[in-house]
């Protein structure tokens, strides 16, 4: 069985989703559940930390496509951080850098949300 873990933690008004292992068609529903719980809790500012993610398939990418509209409609966003090169290459292949913000580390992404609040 593919190993995948998703963990959600709060950092101030921002929710950080840590993803670990293989995110594919088999494991993507776990990530969908995490997003659904955030939406149920009216939490729309999300940073996804990819530090421990080894692999992502198009089914995993589709999850971010599915939820970004809801987040932005509610003055939030999905931002990405700590991505390994191999994973980033897949995002890049599909033009995701035009759609999402990528940060080297989680704190930069969280700070970006704070900047948008203070404006």
């Amino acid at each position: 069985m593919a190993d995948f873990n998703v963990n959600v933690r709060g950092v101030g008004s921002v929710s950080v989703i840590d993803v670990k292992g293989y995110l594919d068609a088999h494991t993507a529903p776990q990530l969908e559940n995490a997003f659904n719980q955030l939406i149920d809790g009216s939490k729309y500012k999300v940073v996804v930390n990819f530090n421990d993610l080894s692999y992502i398939s198009s089914a995993g990418l589709g999850v971010f496509m599915a939820y970004v509209e809801t987040m932005r409609e509610n003055k939030g966003d999905i931002k990405f951080s700590n991505m390994q090169d191999g994973v980033y290459n897949i995002f890049d292949l599909l033009g995701f850098p035009m759609l999402y913000e990528f940060y080297k580390n989680e704190n930069e992404a969280i700070e970006k949300f704070k900047e948008s609040i203070s404006k």
């Binding site: 068609a25 088999h26 398939s57 198009s58 970004v68 509209e69 292949l93 599909l94």
Partner: protein, 143 residues
Amino acid sequence: MKTKEFKIRSDYSEVTPVTKLIRSFCLEENVKVSDCNETEICLMEALNNVIKHAYKGDSSKSISIDVKINDKELIIRITDTGYPRKNFGKPKLEYDPNDIENLPEGGMGLYIIDQLMDEIFYESQNGINTFHMKKIVAKPASV
């Protein structure tokens, strides 16, 4: 030419383990790591497509995967007996990044495969669907 055959059930949980096995086979045959990685990605996408589109999520069916490696090419043939795919044309991925209401949530797998492989071909005959993928690989010259 080195050949290996694999068979899995049409269950998403079986996709990652077999793609890891095939990646190991490619590495054993001295295929460059980046080519092995890209092949693993394409295999994952192609097998997920079979389960989703050919078998409509029915996990009781089977999928065969034949892998052939020679000095220049890596050839993969994936065979299933599910519903044949229609409109298997050149995949496109066009979207307006400013129009997030209409972002694609699917159709990205075949696009990825087309980008990473050098040749892809699909055929369906007598109830058997076959998807061919070919990648020109870099291997160190034999000593």
